[in-house]
Symmetry: C2
Subunit: 264 residues, 2 copies
């Protein structure tokens, strides 16, 4: 199956949801893809210093401005879209991403492993690692940023049938892009890491994001990797069904060779 | 704590146990270390084509020629040693490694994830992933070669308290040395991958081994990496107690941040 996927990279403007939504709409202008992944907290920026700031930009996953616009764009381009945003649900705030399909269906992931001061402003994800059907029924697992350092995240998504891991990120540590090669390789799964760029300052807090968004194949091949400061969407055509094949050698299979009785 | 570790790399001669033991004894000639790791199947070579070949070189883990020599060497150099060899136990054959301490104690690991045609000649390991006390009571977890591709192997050894993973290998795939960086990083553990070199031919079977043996720090730093065809032992002084600290940031800990209720 030919399946065209895209990875987006840009610099969100802190707390300016309208502008960030406009930027993402602009980036999609020539989109002819089946799935495009945007960064973590792409609507809001990242360096929160108070929960009031989070509250000012948080939205419902199903009826907020972001959901509304992305439903329109997914239909317009006939393309599944993944985007990270601060989610308000009842009285809780989550660092979430949604998969929005051309038919209007929306699926939510709430970040399970919160990084650094996110713990001050967000509740830890409570929905588990789930795999959702994107366009053409391709199975997409969602995880966010720091989830990468826990091998159990990508493993769980893969054991549950992910063909593609949609990994929205705001990366500040130097290791993830390389480690995701191991994640794709050990699970025989495609991965799309969409990272932001730029330096964001809020009071005394400052973070610099590393770009280098990438699309990886099931052997960990780098199919696309963007530069550190590039803005845009890079596309690549993959065959997601390759991820159903967990063969390593004629004697070895990445999943059936697992000996779970010996794992802690 | 200053703890001097070594990683050995050489080209075993197929089925010539005497010669291979002599080579390893020679490599240790100037050893002033606390722990040295040798490759997988270092006494026998790798490319078996029949179980008779395995039988001809298999030994008891505790009373064989290898155990006997390594007990002598561990005492002589006051150094813990890890070495891979074909183990005979009752009527079974395992691809095993032993940790041999200066006081004569021996601990055995039997390879859990067999690679390729090893499945024809060896029984899968039945002792689990275990952590053993080496010299100065440093906690050493043993795994062998292809175990690297299963994140659960290094994870299990680390959760059980490994400060150093002693990873004896005969690597033929191109990915392991890089993936071990992820293993050390995600587990905040030292790792020593001792690989062999050379091309081994047996009838129509042929394997080329990739060298590049390495010692990695708890942040995945490459403390030592040998060349593809180099022979020798490279040493580096580490502080194994650093592996007790699983801190990633002041808000994050590689182990206590795990949310096992969501892992498959």
């Amino acid at each position: 199956m030919n399946y065209r996927v895209g990875v987006a990279q840009f610099e969100p403007k802190f707390l300016d949801v309208e502008k960030n939504l406009q930027t993402m709409e602009n980036l999609l202008y020539d989109c002819q893809a089946d799935l495009v992944v945007f960064p973590e907290l792409a609507t809001s920026g990242y360096v929160f210093k108070s929960q009031d700031e989070v509250k000012s930009v948080a939205e419902s996953a199903f009826t907020g401005k972001t959901a509304t616009l992305f439903k329109k764009l997914a239909k317009q381009y006939n393309c599944s879209l993944v985007v990270g945003f601060p989610e308000k649900f009842r009285n809780q705030y989550f660092n979430s991403s949604i998969l929005v399909n051309p038919d209007g269906r929306i699926y939510v992931y709430r970040k399970i492993h919160l990084f650094y001061e996110e713990k001050l402003f967000f509740s830890p994800g409570n929905l588990g690692f789930q795999v959702f059907p994107a366009k053409k029924d391709v199975q997409v697992g969602l995880m966010i940023c720091f989830d990468w350092i826990f091998p159990e995240a990508a493993r769980t998504l893969s054991l549950k049938g992910s063909e593609i891991i949609a990994h929205s990120a705001n990366l500040v540590l130097p290791w993830c892009q390389q480690a995701m090669i191991t994640r794709s390789l050990e699970n025989r799964v495609f991965s799309i890491t969409s990272n932001r760029i730029g330096t964001e300052i809020n009071g005394e807090s400052k973070q610099t994001f590393t770009g280098m968004s990438q699309i990886l194949g099931t052997r960990g091949e780098i199919l696309k990797r963007m530069q550190e400061k590039e803005i845009g969407i890079e596309y690549f055509t993959i065959d997601p069904t390759l991820a159903k094949d967990k063969t390593i050698t004629e004697f070895n299979d990445a999943f059936s060779d697992r000996r779970t009785e010996f794992y802690s």
